[in-house]
Each structure stands twice: as C-alpha cells, then as structure tokens.
C-alpha cells in the first residue's frame, strides 16, 4: 500500500518538476517539432508540383493522346487553353505559366522559359516523350506489330514514401533519445547534488520504487511525444501510418530505457548538472546525425553505414520507419528491440560501475 502511494507521489513530483522546467519541455517537444515543421513544410513533395502549360489553338497530338498516356499527361501538366499565341508567350515570360505549345503543321512548338532550369528540362523531356510515344504508337499501328521494347516504371516504395513519411519516425526517435538521456542525466546529477538521492535512501521507500517512478515518467513523456508528433504530422503534413505502427510503442519504451542508460552514464562521468547534460548532448547529437534522424544514410559511404550499425539510435530509427511507414509487420521490430535492450543493460552496468555517491 505504502509502495503504491510512494510510487504515485514520486511520479507526480517528477512530472511536475518536468512540466515546470521550460527548457526541458522545449527540448523534448518544441525543438524536435520545429524540425518536423521545417522538413515537413519546406521539403515536402518537391516533385509533384505540375508544369503549367498553355495550349494555343488545336493541338491534335495532345487532344488525341492514347488512353493511359493522357492520364500520365494530366499528372504532369496543368493545361489551360488559349487562342492568342502572343498573350500565351507573354504569360510564360512573366512566369505565370511554364510553357506554351502550338502546332505548326506536324511540328509541336514549345515556348518555354529558362528561368527555372529544372522545370524547363522536365517540360522538354516530358513533351519529347509524349511526341515520341505517339510516333511509336502510330508507326506500330501502320506496321501492324507492337513495338519491340516497352517500358513500365513502378516505384518500389509503397506508392509514396514522401518526405514527411521519412522524417516523422526519425525525428521522433531523436526527440525521445534526447529527452530520455537529458532527463536521466539531469536527474542523477541534480539529485546527487541536492543530496535528495541520499534523503530518499533514508526514507522507507525502495530503490526499485524510485527508479520505477523515474522510468515510468520518462516513458510517459515519450508516448506523449509520439502522440504529438504523429498527430501533427498526420494533420498538417499528410502522414499516413502503416499497419503495425503500434509496434512503435514498445520500440519507444525500450528506446527510452536505452537512452536513459546513456543519460545515467553521462551523469556518472560528470560532476555538475550542466556537465551531465552536455555529455548527454555530446553522445546523442552526433549519433542522431549518423543514425539517419535528419537525412537518409543511403547516399553515405559504406563504412559510415557499417559504423552506424553500432549506434542504438540507428536501430531505433530503422525499426520505427519499418513499422510506421514501410508497412513491415510487427516482427520487424523484434530484433531492434533486443538490440536496444542489450545496449540498455550494458550501458547501465557501465554507468553503475562509474557512479560515485559523492560529487567530490
């Protein structure tokens, strides 16, 4: 009975201490959310903005596209009709449209601007493809046989692993890692310095109860982070979760344990609260870069990718991606969970060996 009361009282005290610490709340919730908004808002879906095309007069090629091709065409182009060529070209010049097309005999003439070179290249390439495609279709019709080769392009990802899909799990992993490590580091140092840890030692409450209260609060914070991240990403940036996303809950729980252990280590090797938080930062921030929290590691050198496998956050991020957006089943999280637990046990053991009760 007393244990339950003590557990509740301790948890409540720790929660209040956290919520009233504006710096902690900022770094646990607001700061990572800023990155989410930044990445989600700025880099979202660069490829999907359509080319604005003005069609002057009748353009038989575009009007009579074969079925299939016309769908692809409307995916790429936003078509507007006009009869005034000069006005259309003027529109392109001012940047209100990307390209104006007209037919001169059998030639499709495209008036485009070089202001946006990427778009100009896309426009040219796309129009060339449609002209070629139509030519091939007509020629094979005349010859009475289908073309020798055909191309069908299909994306490997589940339709759209868009920016937000990639960043939400990774940034969430980073946010949880950061708040768990900082929380543990600051608690162990702060309590040691105020001798609260000693005071609790002389109260009839077991170490297990104290540790359980601290861990429960940190896990609670991690789950709140999950809710806020997924909620905002889904509501504002169109995040779609895949089937086993709920496996992110046990993943975050063991991730929290693992990074609390790292925070304990930071607290054990330092002598002040500031030192402990800095040491935790020193371990977590580089790790988050090397674990794909901010950018995918696919383009990085092989040795770096091999090294990243030594980092717990890499396994957390990967597994979060797998279950939250890549559509993997629950089993995809099992091995990462074991790896994270292993890290937690080993790092806690090291921290316990290095820990000194007194600061001097």
């Amino acid at each position: 009975m007393r244990t339950t009361g003590a557990f509740k009282a301790l948890s409540l005290a720790i929660v209040k201490g956290f919520v009233r610490d504006k710096t902690s709340v900022f770094f646990a919730v607001v700061f990572p959310l800023m990155f989410l908004v930044l990445f989600g808002g700025l880099f979202a879906d660069q490829s999907t903005s359509k080319v604005e095309l003005v069609q002057v007069g009748d353009v038989a090629l575009l009007d009579d596209l074969p079925k299939g091709a016309d769908e692809a065409f409307t995916d790429t182009f936003d078509v507007e009709h006009s009869d005034d060529l000069d006005a259309a070209i003027e529109k392109v010049r001012k940047g209100d449209a990307d390209v104006a097309v007209e037919m001169r005999g059998d030639t499709l003439v495209a008036h485009y601007t070089q202001t946006d070179q990427v778009k100009a290249a896309v426009t040219q390439g796309a129009l060339r493809a449609f002209v070629d495609g139509t030519n091939v279709a007509l020629l094979s019709q005349e010859a009475g046989s289908p073309p020798a080769y055909d191309l069908e392009a299909e994306k490997v990802e589940d339709d759209s692993l868009r920016t937000i899909q990639y960043y939400t799990p990774g940034l969430l992993g980073w946010a949880v890692a950061m708040s768990a490590a900082f929380g543990a580091a600051a608690t162990i140092q702060g309590w040691r310095q105020s001798k609260l840890i000693r005071r609790l030692q002389l109260a009839p409450v077991s170490t297990r109860t104290v540790v359980a209260a601290r861990i429960s609060v940190t896990i609670g914070i991690a789950l709140v982070q999950l809710a806020i991240f997924v909620g905002l990403a889904a509501a504002a940036f169109g995040l779609t979760l895949t089937g086993s996303w709920w496996m992110s809950v046990p993943l975050l729980v063991v991730g929290t344990l693992c990074f609390m252990a790292i925070g304990l280590l930071a607290g054990a090797i330092t002598k002040t609260t500031e030192g402990a938080v800095n040491a935790a930062n020193f371990m977590v921030l580089p790790m988050s870069f090397l674990s794909g929290s901010f950018f995918p590691l696919d383009a990085s050198p092989a040795w770096l990718r091999a090294f990243s496998n030594l980092l717990p956050l890499k396994h957390l991020n990967d597994a979060m991606l797998d279950v939250m957006v890549r559509g993997e089943g629950p089993s995809a999280a099992v091995v990462p969970i074991l790896i994270l637990l292993g890290f937690a046990v080993v790092v806690t053991a090291v921290a316990a060996r290095l820990f000194r009760w007194e600061t001097t």
């Binding site: 005290a13 201490g17 105020s194």
Partner: protein, 301 residues
Amino acid sequence: MTARAIEVVDLTMTYGQLRAVDGVSLEVGEGEFVGILGPNGAGKTTTLETIEGLRRPDSGTVTVLGLPVWPRNSALLPRIGVQLQASSFFERLTAREQIHTFAALYGVGAAAADTWLERVGLEDKADTRVEDLSGGQAQRLSIASALVHDPDVVFLDEPTAALDPQARRNLWDLLSGLNDSGRTVVLTTHYMDEAEVLCDRVAIMDHGRILQFDSPAALIRGLDAPARITVAPGQLTHDEGRALNGVDDVVEGPEGVVLTTRQPAVVVSQLADADHLDGVRVQTGTLEDVFLDLTGREYRA
C-alpha cells in the same frame, strides 16, 4: 540512566590518508537534545551521516533505537527523521507539494503534512516553489519534511548554517521545542552559542575525535576559566579596581574597566557596596573558551 536512543562504539571512517572519524564513541539517551560541535572539517557531518546509516563505517558499530543502522535497515527508517546539509528537495515543487511528497513516502496523510507546514510557520509560503524560498524558509521546510512522520530520533545537519543572525534565532525557537515530546534530537553545528542554548549535552569534535561530551554548563565549569567583569567608563579608576578583593587583573578599555577574577561573586558584591553596578556586565566562560582550552587553538567557525 534512561534508555539509549543512540549508541556509537569506536567508529572510524577513513578517506584516503584522512581519518575523518577517528575512534568516536557516543551514547545518547532517549529524549536528549545533543549537539556535535566543531569547526568545518572536524568530521561532524561524516559522523552524523554514519549514524544515520548513509555510510558504511570502516570499523565500529552504530545502533539507533537498539537497531543496527548498516546495512540500510528498513525497520529503522520510519522511526528516524533526517535533514541533510543541502536542501534535499524535489525541483520546482511548491513547499506544500514538497512536504506532501515526503509525507506520502512515509505513508502519512496530507493533513498531517499541512499541520507541520503551519508549525514551522510556512503556511503563507505553501504555494511558493522551493527555489524561491529564503534560506531560513528552506531550512524550516527541510526540518518539517524530516519531522512529518513524527520520528523518534531526528538528525539535523547544520540546520542554521548560512543563515543571518535573525533567522538563526528564529529557528532556535522551533528547534528548542523538538524534544519536548520525548523525541531524541542530534544536531551538528559550528556555532558555539547555538550549542549552548539548545543542547542538553554537547560533544566537542576536532580532527575526527570527540574531545569532550557533557552539558554546556559542566564543560564551562570544568574549564576553571576566570570571569571578566566590565564596569562602565567613569565608575571606577584603575587603582580602585586593583584594590578590590579577588581581582587578578585590571585593563582599561573603551568599554570601561575590565576586571579579571576567579571569584566573580565576591567582586560583584564589593561593586554593589560601592554603588558601582550601573552598566556592569559579567562574562563567565563560553564554549569558545572550552574549545580553546581543549585544542589550544582559537575557535574559528
């Protein structure tokens, strides 16, 4: 002799080369108010924390209320209350939340906790965060948190350190009532006057050893130190002072004539006969003198 609340036998603690506690033995009776007095670095806090059960002694034994304190004795913990040297508070809680939290750790209800908040005069500050309390208020809260479960034995580690004189005296009023209900109190202090005012018995400690352990009056009596009688200026000349029976030495200073004597009663009655009592002050020995006598050093807190 009453039952023993605390029994320390031949306690030794060593940090590297330093013998922080060097063969300390101590017995405290139930209901006694005992002070451990000494300068910084004398080993007071180490001794106290070992008695509380926070440290494993290198050698020697400690029992409190008949129970061994090491290893951590969960049967004993609810019966002792501790105030550590630092303000051991949960960060960013208000005074009330703080004491409620400690109360819950001991299975004590919120109402009892609120009573203690009143008893230490903090009801006005109940909703103030611990970081915003003054030094004296923080000490009061810390003491209230140590007492919230009504323990039989209370340990206070320098409860008045770093307080201004006014706050210290206010705290004395609170502290002096702590053993009224038969509770045993042990405090450390480096203030001589504090030990003299509050404690039934004082252990004088220096370099890890207890030099003497007795009531303040007995310590001073045993000192056999001369009394100093100051007579206000203009009442008495140097030679008149010399002529009085029992006077060993006469010094004229800005405060008047200071007579040194081992028979203060004899000297004072002669001054009364001569009608020189206006502004007379008699100073007998203090614990400072005892310390000087025991260590050969001036006492510097």
